[in-house]
């Protein structure tokens, strides 16, 4: 009895309202797995995806319910906290999850691995991301990273009868383990140097009880930075990205490209700006160097890629470089710009991946650049979102990407890192080479064959898109088309009316009030 009482007294204080989004996704994962035990087409094709969508929808609703501005509020003692940064980025995870459900619904990976397993793993990974976004100490950080990564390794290999999918999963596992080990080692050294695991305590210790030039601390930061850079595919820790992205089933690639990257940046923002902000003088130049290398390597690598997925992987590397610049600045404005860019990054990448998914299922060229030939005239409903996504990724005005880059550059200049802003511009210039190539392939090929006309419409003469078949009509995959169109529309909308997201980004910026505003 007494032991029980003592245990009750020592039990952590949990804010159930604050933790409810996490419960929604983690609980959702369990429910989805259980529901998948029901046999039958309905349960597999409708019920399980529906439950997944329900869990994510509930999480979105609960996150909005929890929304508040200002400093973070602890929810499980000092382990987790919620603040606009955590909530805002969680929303991005959930939206990506919803899009992935649509993308995966007709995919072979889903049939091969089992619906329940696939969506269960995905929800588990999202739970890991949610933890990561609100981690307040080194332990939860690492738990989050692992909870995020391990389901992903499996998801990469979920197309179990395709060799490249297995290869991708295995490669990710091996390299990912190296990354996790590095990170863990770094976290251990930081703990060793400061004697604390909580971010706030670590930050207090640095400069007070621990010297800024303490080799143990600095080695720890170096190792942790390397581990996190790996997750965010920052060069030179990016080498796995093209291979894994190419091999994984495309819905999983889309999920990784957007959600994992967002999660990685969530933790990078939190770790460097909350726990290590006192050592900014030390780490900022190193991260700046990494950002420059990433921008150059990503953009240069993307040129001359013939696989769209590989191209988007390299482009994702380059984009990580831009966002790292926002972290380096280390001001509230930098934080806002990075969060804002992550949202924009979601819209434009999901639009692009939607088109890749729609095309690779019907084209004999798979995800090759050739699968887009003549798409402009064959199915403009796919060609336009791709065009918008590419222009936005390149940072054309009137698209979300332009506003995002503008925000990042302005943050860099404002924080006396003007040369990083210049690097972003140089990188964008290089990126036009491969982004515009996609647009050219879609629109600049001549027309040839005649499509059977829909009733009351004139027949259309079109260029036969490689591997053309009745299914090539995007209307054969309405859910993919819908997500793609929504994302493209959002890209344009927020490119023209960015103010709603500016306000959200501003709220996010207030999460870490210690920052120089």
């Amino acid at each position: 009895m007494t032991t029980l009482l003592i245990a009750a007294a020592k039990a952590p204080v949990i804010d159930y309202k604050g933790i409810s989004p996490l419960f929604a996704v983690a609980g959702g994962a369990v429910i989805v797995l259980m529901a998948a035990l029901i046999r039958g087409r309905f349960a597999q094709r409708v019920l399980v995806p529906f439950l997944t969508v329900g869990a994510l929808g509930a999480a979105i609703g609960l996150s909005i319910w929890n929304w508040h501005t200002g400093d973070s509020r602890p929810i499980v003692e000092g382990a987790l906290a919620i603040d606009p940064l955590a909530l805002g980025l969680s929303l991005l995870f959930y939206i990506t999850g919803l899009a992935t459900v649509a993308f995966a619904w007709r995919s072979r990976a889903l049939r091969e691995s089992g619906t329940g397993e696939f969506f269960g793993l995905m929800l588990g990974s999202i739970a890991g991301m949610t933890i990561l976004g609100s981690a307040e100490n080194l332990i939860t950080l690492f738990v989050g990273i692992e909870l995020l990564s391990i389901p992903l390794y499996v998801m990469c290999a979920s197309d179990v009868r395709r060799e490249t999918s297995l290869e991708s999963g295995l490669k990710y596992l091996v390299i990912g383990s190296v990354g996790s080990a590095t990170l863990l080692y770094g976290l251990a050294l930081i703990y060793g140097a400061t004697g604390h695991t909580g971010f706030a305590e670590i930050n207090n210790a640095i400069g007070n009880s621990v010297n800024l030039t303490d080799p143990l601390l600095l080695t720890g930061i170096a190792l942790a930075a390397a581990g996190l850079a790996f997750k965010a595919s920052v060069a030179p820790f990016h080498a796995w990205t093209p291979d894994v992205y190419e091999g994984a089933p495309t819905p999983v690639t889309a999920f990784m490209a957007v959600a994992t990257k967002t999660a990685a940046f969530a933790v990078i923002l939190r770790f460097f700006l909350e726990a290590l902000v006192s050592a900014q003088e030390q780490w900022a130049p190193a991260l700046a160097a990494l950002a420059v290398i990433t921008i150059i390597v990503g953009n240069v690598g993307a040129i001359a890629q013939n696989s769209l997925k590989r191209m988007l992987a390299w482009s994702g590397v380059a984009q990580a470089g831009y966002m790292l610049a926002g972290v380096v600045v280390g001001t509230q404005l930098g934080l806002q710009a990075t969060a804002f860019y992550l949202a924009m990054y979601l819209f434009m990448n999901l639009a692009a991946f939607g088109v890749v998914i729609a095309r690779e299922r019907v084209s004999e060229h798979g995800d090759g650049l050739k699968s887009l030939e003549g798409l402009g005239s064959a199915s403009p409903l796919l060609a336009w979102p791709m065009t918008i996504a590419m222009l936005s990724l390149a940072g054309f005005p009137a698209t979300a990407g332009f506003i995002g880059k503008f925000y990042l550059i302005s943050a860099a200049v404002d924080g006396n890192w003007a040369w990083l802003g210049v690097m972003i511009v140089v990188g964008s210039m290089l990126s036009l080479v491969y982004y515009l190539r996609v647009i050219a392939v879609m629109w600049m090929t001549p027309l040839k064959i005649e499509l059977p006309g829909r009733p009351r419409r004139a027949r259309r003469e079109v260029q036969p898109v490689a591997g053309w078949s009745p299914e090539a009509d995007p209307r054969a995959q309405p859910e993919v088309l819908l997500v793609t169109l929504i994302m493209a529309a959002a890209t344009i909308f927020f490119g023209i009316v960015p103010s709603p997201l500016f306000h959200l980004a501003h709220d996010v910026g207030t999460s870490i009030s210690a920052l120089f505003s």
Partner: protein, 671 residues
């Protein structure tokens, strides 16, 4: 409704016409676009009349009103409203512009029938009228510049209307470039006035501010006025910015009638009349303007003597006549200048319409050497053309007689320098009378050419489709003139427009007969009430003496033409052979184009070629871009090489990366 409400409606109708025709052209059957456009302009004219009636009810000193619709630009230190200013001057211009435009629209309904760009034509034409009305109704100098640029744009797209004709597109570009010179000058003038005259953009604000800020002949004010003059000269094709107007004849003939004779080119005259308080404060600038105007009117008349392209003769005549108007408004004879603006709009539009009819009968040929003897076959065109020519020659009692001689009479009255200018004007009047009837006699008299003979038989000539300037073959698809030609004798809308203009060209002078009617002067007086020349008017007697002298000169000129072309044909050839140098000078329009070619075009082309072949190709493309491309290419190869698919390679790369990071942090720890 207030006068300004009518004023807004004047603007609204042509704009609506443009929008409706541009967007709805697919749904408009046959000549619908043409009638729609004409209707919009007629509505604008009616509204202008409404505004005038409303304004005339007020006391003379109160006859002006402005109205602002919304903030056009509102920024630190400057607040520009989208506003109009309605006073007798702007309404006078609006009435002339919308009235003549309506008639030319009606004429075009027929004339352009077979053109494949029919709806596009009327959308452009409505847009032009909108811009022109915006220009004259503008409530401040910024909106005036907007309208000014708008008409420049309209002029450009209508000169290049047959966009597959290389000569037409080249002419359009030339006109645009020349006009931009004027636009820049106008913007600079606006800036100078804003900067130095108390930060005003409204006209009355600028005038009041200038009176306060500048004394008579202040250097800044002279500079501002001369810049205004440059703007006016570019738009009104005055020497030395005149070379674009003859080339502008590449556009369809009704466009020449509307834009390059009756309305747009007179915008410069309006500008100077509008800014007359500044010119009166800076008499030096006014005198320089007048000097150039006098030179222009004489120079252009001599060119019209020698050229053989029918439309270009009328174009040079336009330059010359605008010279008279400029002379009038820059020397203080505002009523005369604007009076001539109005009568010139009537008879010059009429002449162009007649020329269009003749060119239609000639199946597109414009050379008067190929024409002759149309008197019998084109009765209607002949009569109206003679009316136009008489008015241009200022033969009594045509409208041109009253208006031109009012300008010259005023300048004789001012004496001195202005007397010299007036004498130049009288000399040019003799040439004008001569070349007017040179056209009449060469085109309508003499032996009938094959086209005229076939027309007498009732058949309209069908020539090959050729570019009249270069002789290149053309098809009749969109971008080239249409397949059919149209003459006034067979199209009632053309006849209608020409009849009304002919009547106006005859009786238009009624608004300003010295000693009898002073209607125009009384109407405009509220605008020029502040002028120091308001009482410097010649007496009625001396006006009539001037008119008699003018009539004598006109009669002399016509007689000489009659002798040269009817009584003793070939006289002109003998004269030309006697003084070949003069003939060459006139035919080559005094070598202005060649001068500009040598001064500006060729040096620019040389510079451009240097930039293209040396800077661009060798340095930028070869060294900079080529070098950068090669660097990126090598980088791509390296990146792809590292990406070999083996995990061990990736691990090594990560290790290297971590090594670098670790080294950096440890070095920090060490120092």
């Amino acid at each position: 409704m207030s006068a300004t409400a009518w004023g807004w409606l004047v603007l609204a109708f042509p704009l609506a016409g443009t929008v409706v025709i541009s967007l709805g052209w697919r749904a408009l059957p046959g000549r619908m676009a043409g009638w729609l456009g004409s209707g919009a302009i007629l509505a604008a004219f009616v509204c202008a009349v409404g505004a005038t009636v409303k304004l005339q009810k007020l006391a003379p000193h109160a006859r002006h009103a402005s109205s602002t619709l919304f903030d056009y630009a509102h920024s630190a230190g400057i607040n520009i409203g989208m506003s109009i200013y309605v006073d007798p001057l702007s309404l006078f211009m609006a009435l002339v512009v919308s009235g003549v435009s309506f008639l030319i629209h009606v004429y075009s309904v027929s004339y352009m029938t077979s053109d494949r760009g029919y709806s596009r034509y009327f959308a452009y034409l409505n847009y032009f009228v909108f811009s022109m009305l915006l220009l004259v109704l503008a409530g401040n100098i910024i909106i005036l510049i907007v309208g000014w640029a708008g008409v420049g744009m309209a002029s450009y797209i209508l000169i290049s209307f047959w966009y597959r004709r290389t000569t037409a597109t080249a002419a359009g570009m030339k006109a645009f470039v020349m006009n931009v010179i004027g636009d820049v000058a106008l913007v600079l003038a606006a800036f100078l006035l804003w900067r130095h005259a108390g930060h005003h953009v409204s006209f009355n604000g600028i005038f009041a501010g200038s009176k306060q800020a500048f004394g008579t002949n202040n250097g800044t004010l002279i500079a501002a006025c001369l810049l205004l003059t440059v703007g006016a000269f570019a738009k009104s094709a005055q020497v030395p910015l005149h070379t674009w107007l003859p080339d502008a004849m590449e556009g369809p003939t009704p466009v020449s009638a509307l834009i390059h004779a009756a309305t747009m080119v007179t915008a410069g005259v309006y500008l100077i009349a509008r800014f007359h308080p500044l010119y009166e404060l800076a008499p030096t600038a006014a005198d320089i303007t007048a000097g150039f105007a006098a030179f222009t009117l004489f120079y252009a008349a001599t060119c019209a003597l020698a050229i053989t392209d029918l439309k270009r003769i009328i174009a040079y005549s336009t330059i010359s006549q605008i010279g008279y108007m400029m002379l009038g408004v820059s020397t203080g004879g505002y009523d005369g200048g604007l009076f001539h603006l109005m009568t010139h709009a009537f008879f010059k539009a009429l002449l162009f319409m007649g020329a269009g009819s003749v060119i239609g009968a000639m199946a597109g040929i414009q050379d008067i050497d190929r024409m002759g003897g149309f008197r019998k076959s084109m009765r209607f065109t002949y009569v109206t053309f003679v009316v136009g020519a008489l008015a241009l020659a200022s033969f009594p009692p045509m409208s041109g007689w009253f208006s031109k001689d009012e300008i010259l009479g005023f300048d004789v009255h001012r004496g001195g320098y202005y007397l010299v200018l007036a004498i130049i004007g009288f000399a040019a009047a003799l040439i004008t009378a001569f070349y007017s009837f040179r056209m009449v006699f060469r085109v309508f008299h003499g032996a009938a050419v094959p086209e005229a003979q076939s027309l007498e038989r009732g058949e309209l000539a069908h020539g090959e489709h050729l570019n009249p300037m270069t002789g290149e073959h053309e098809d009749t698809d969109v971008g080239f003139p249409g397949a059919e030609h149209h003459i006034a004798e067979r199209e009632w809308p053309m006849k209608f427009a020409m009849s009304i203009l002919a009547v106006l060209a005859i009786i238009g002078g009624i608004v300003g007969i010295p000693g009898v009617t002073h209607w125009l002067r009384n109407f405009l007086d509220p605008v020029f009430a502040d002028s120091k020349f308001i009482n410097t008017q010649p007496t009625d007697t001396s006006s009539w003496i001037g008119l008699v002298v003018g009539a004598g000169i006109a009669l002399a000129g016509i007689t000489i033409a009659y002798v040269c072309y009817i009584r003793q044909p070939g006289t002109t050839g003998r004269i030309a052979a006697r003084v070949p140098a003069l003939q060459r000078l006139f035919v080559n329009r005094w070598y202005w184009d060649e001068l500009y070619d040598a001064l500006f075009v060729r040096p620019s082309a040389t510079l451009g070629n240097f930039g293209r072949y040396v800077v661009e190709r060798a340095f930028v493309q070869g060294t900079l871009v080529g070098g950068a491309t090669r660097i990126v290419g090598v980088g791509t190869a390296i990146a792809r090489g590292l990406e070999n698919g083996y995990i061990r390679a990736y691990a090594v790369l990560m290790l290297l990366g971590f090594g670098g990071l670790g080294l950096y942090f440890l070095l920090q720890a060490a120092f």
